[in-house]
Amino acid sequence: MSTFLYLTRRVLQAAAVILIVTVATFCLLHALPGGPARGILGPQATAQQIAQFNHEQSLDQSLPVQYFAYLGRLLHGDLGTSYTLNEPVAQLIQERLPKTLVLTVLSAGVGLLLAIPLGMWQAVRRNKPVDYVITTLSFVAYSTPVYFLGLMLVLVFSHILPWFPAQAPQGDTLAQVFADPAGLVLPVAAGAASVVAVFSRYMRGATLENLSEDYVRTARAGGSRRGAILRRHVFRNSLTPVVAMLGYYVPVLFGGALVVEQLFNYPGMGLLFWTAAQSSDYPVLLGCVLVISVATVVGTLAADVVQRFIDPRVKEGRA
């Protein structure tokens, strides 16, 4: 299949997935008891005030009508206005998203840069002390809640050892964020920990599997040394399943950001989502879910495209 045809098909599929996600979230949100009026108008609000609020926000119309109205506005780039912050959702996301992207991309990048060599090292030193130590640390890192891990990081590397600030950079623009790289260290470390844990496991498994493949024996029979075999053959072959997993890991990264942003007081998407969820701020919640689902779909698509690039067989539909 030609790459163009493939991409067209995948993008259409992605659009369909996102549409389904909006329907699902829309229905789920409106199924929540109470509704936003109570949260926004406070416990003292009369039934009449609530009815009026619902009427103003078109919340008294039937669900399909509301949904299609929302979809129509969405197509014009209008994500609605936050009930609580009185700002357009699109603008809120536009302010917050880049900061979250910085956090997640850095976490994923740093995490992978550590995880891939660690996983390969473990595979080569299988069942030796190094392997056991890294395996144990991975399980600890993976099973520790991000919240607790973040607190420990702050305690050790900010309070006991005053190396890094306990707060993330507070600036509103990306330039201000990058102006304070030391402030990013602990949030990124907290976010990267689970990436390292999970992906070093994947990489270890994939490498072990590839090391026992026949082609490794063929390369050895041709006089290639182990380092060269790892570099030239095993690395690329092991990377394909890991790349595929990365796409599916995007929502997990966003989930992690939710906690990390809270903890380090970093005003990104996570914090926005968190406050919106607490106050039933429907437009903001919908906008956030939309952004996360788009990111997930794009992440998976990107992973598939990268895989096509690495493995020629995928293109031919042979693998």
């Binding site: 493949e213 026949d214 082609y215 024996r217 063929t218 390369a219 050895r220 029979a221 041709g222 006089g223 290639s224 040394r225 182990r226 060269a228 030239r232 053959h233 690329r236 072959n237 394909t240 690495i310 493995d311 020629p312 067989r313 031919e316 042979r318 693998a319």
Partner: protein, 624 residues
């Protein structure tokens, strides 16, 4: 160079094993795999290491190049030139591998890195041992591809392994192996995964390369035909030891050790008539004899096969295995014998199976008509991709044909309802190729065999079922006590018998056997085929026998159907069709089968080469 010349070639051995032992350590203790093996290979000679699975032949090969798995420990000496591979450092071994010694493996499908272009993989071997520029190495890789007979090598060098056929991949592995003109080439079952015609081409290639550069070859194989075709000397292994060694003519024609005799007796031999040799044979044999002074003349025609080929007796006297009795009877009955009057148990009429649509559509079967009559055995032969397994699945009702009709036990499968169809299917038993994968590892033997009874004989009590399974086990010559075992505790041959017992549980009228013995050793194959034959006489079921092994089919089946790319090339009585084939394709297929007689095989090879040379001159280039 002839075999006799080559063995007398003086020169220091390139490989010398002295009292080699290999022990595998496992959780249950140490397992000795190879004990006290001594042998040598001289430049330019081919030593074949033969034996059945588990005999340790591959372990010897791996020990010779220092590629034993981590849990293996070698003792004794394995001298490659002056270096002892046993105990050598990995670094020293790496500098020997690919230069002094190299290896060709069994499975071309997985032997190459799927993500690296084949040219780059060959160039890597070149650059492992020579300090040359990348460009130069790439050019050498293209040269090597040309040498191993890959057409359009400049373009193919940029191909990925998956874009090549099995035979071409094996050529690439061979190109890697000869990249630095090694003194010793180890070939571990190099043609086992390939079709016979491709096998013949790969063997020709290996032989040519070995002769051209005086490379010594250590050939590991279980196929006596390949040995006869290729080897100068033979070493026979049994349970980790060499039991007999000598020149190929001696070992194959006048075996001394009891085991060798038994092994050779179990090898199904293809009976060949003079007519099976292609038309160009005469000139071919003459041309061949110029560079091959008749080494066989001193032995004279000895075996029955040889006699059959020499004198023009219509039914050649080959040493027939016991399961072959029926085939001979059928041959005297002639193909249109007594069975012809009965209604067939399964009847495929003009069946076409198409996979996919439009441009991507593949015709897996194209106008196939065949039937199996009660009690008879029909052999379905052809190369991989010829559609023989697809045809068997259509007969089983597992694949619905795109067009054409399938009649099973007199009912048209398309006109029957699902329930009736299931009932019809209970009249068919199936035995598949892979003895490991075809039994559920989580079930006991009892559960495996009882499963069809549970499905189709609902009223049967557990006790009755158990009794029935016991009886079935006895039928396939296994002890009743096996019922409680797990499949993994059984050998391959035993598992195939369990599969057979399961297939016979519902007393089928038709047994479909898809390559039931191709994963088994010859002696085990013989035993399994014998059991099938005896039970067939006893129970009277018909058998559709799918196989790529023409020799087995020749003995086992009464009629044969030859398939090629989804079509039936020809069909008829087995002896008639395989001794006097009506089409060029069947003739080529037969000519490519190596027979386990070095003298006869040498003649057949010369004839075949002359025929292909003639065909190539006629414009039809043969590629693997």
């Amino acid at each position: 160079m002839t075999a006799t010349d080559r063995t007398t070639t003086a020169g220091e051995p390139i490989l010398r094993l002295e009292d080699l032992g290999v022990t595998f350590s496992s959780e249950t203790g140490d397992v000795p795999a190879v004990r006290g093996v001594s042998l040598h290979v001289r430049p330019g000679e081919t030593l074949a290491l033969v034996g059945e699975s588990g005999s340790g032949k591959s372990t010897v090969a791996l020990a010779s190049i220092g590629l034993l798995p981590d849990n293996a420990r070698a003792t004794g000496r394995a001298l490659l030139g002056s270096t002892d591979v046993v105990g050598a450092a990995e670094r020293d071994l790496a500098s020997l591998r690919g230069r002094t010694v190299s290896m060709v493996f069994q499975e071309p499908a997985t032997a190459l890195d799927p993500l690296t272009r084949i040219g780059a993989q060959i160039a890597e071997v070149v650059r492992n041992h020579r300090r040359i520029a990348a460009k130069e190495a790439d050019a050498l890789a293209v040269d090597l591809l040309r040498r191993v007979g890959i057409p359009d090598p400049e373009r193919r060098a940029r191909a990925f392994p998956f874009e090549l056929s099995g035979g071409q991949r094996q050529r690439v592995v061979i190109a890697m192996a000869i990249a630095n003109d090694p003194g010793l080439l180890i070939a571990d079952e190099p043609t086992t995964a390939l079709d016979v015609t491709v096998q013949a081409e790969i063997l020709d290639l290996l032989r040519r390369l070995a002769v051209e550069s005086g490379t010594g070859v250590l050939l590991v194989t279980h196929n006596m035909g390949v040995v006869a075709d290729f080897a100068d000397r033979v070493a026979v292994m049994l349970q980790g030891r060499i039991v007999e060694t000598g020149p190929v003519e001696d070992v194959l024609l006048r075996p001394e050790h009891e085991y060798t005799k038994r092994l050779l007796a179990a090898v199904p031999r293809l009976a060949v008539a003079p007519a099976a040799v292609p038309a160009a044979a005469k000139d071919g044999a003459a041309a061949g004899s110029q560079d091959r002074p008749e080494a066989g003349s001193q032995d004279g025609p000895r075996t029955g096969t040889e006699a059959g080929a020499e004198s023009a007796t219509p039914a050649p006297e080959v040493p027939l295995p016991r399961y072959a009795a029926r085939a001979r009877k059928a041959n005297t009955d002639t193909a249109q014998g007594s069975a012809a009057g009965h209604e067939p148990v399964v009847d495929l009429r003009d069946v076409t199976v198409v996979y996919g649509r439009r441009i991507g559509a593949v015709r897996a079967l194209d106008g196939v008509s065949l039937n199996v009559r009660p009690g008879e055995t029909v052999g379905l032969v052809g190369e991989s991709g010829s559609g023989k397994s697809t045809a068997a699945r259509v007969a089983l009702g597992l694949i619905r044909p795109t067009s054409g009709t399938v009649t099973l036990f007199g009912s048209d499968l398309r006109r029957t309802r699902a329930r009736a169809r299931r009932e019809l299917r209970s009249g068919i038993g199936v035995v598949l190729q892979d003895p490991v994968a075809s039994l559920d590892a989580r079930m006991t033997v009892l559960e495996c065999i009882a499963e069809p009874l549970r499905v189709h004989r609902r009223g049967m009590s557990a006790k009755e079922r158990q009794e029935q399974v016991g009886a079935l086990l006895e039928r396939v010559r296994l002890p009743r006590s096996f019922a409680q075992r797990a499949p993994r505790e059984l050998s391959g041959g035993q598992r195939q018998r369990v599969s057979l017992a399961r297939a016979l549980a519902l007393e089928p009228k038709l047994l479909v056997a898809d390559e039931p013995t191709s994963a088994l050793d010859v002696s085990v194959q013989e035993a399994v085929l014998e059991v099938i034959t005896e039970l067939q006489d006893e129970l009277g079921f018909a058998c559709l026998f799918v196989s790529h092994d023409l020799a087995v089919v020749q003995h086992f089946a009464e009629r044969v159907v030859v398939m090629r790319s989804g079509r039936i090339e020809e069909q008829g009585g087995t002896m008639d069709t395989l001794l006097h084939p009506g089409t060029d394709y069947t003739r080529r297929l037969l000519a490519a089968v190596p027979v386990p007689d070095p003298v006869l095989q040498r003649r057949r090879r010369a004839a075949r080469l002359a025929a292909t040379a003639g065909a190539a001159a006629g414009g039809a280039g043969a590629t693997a």
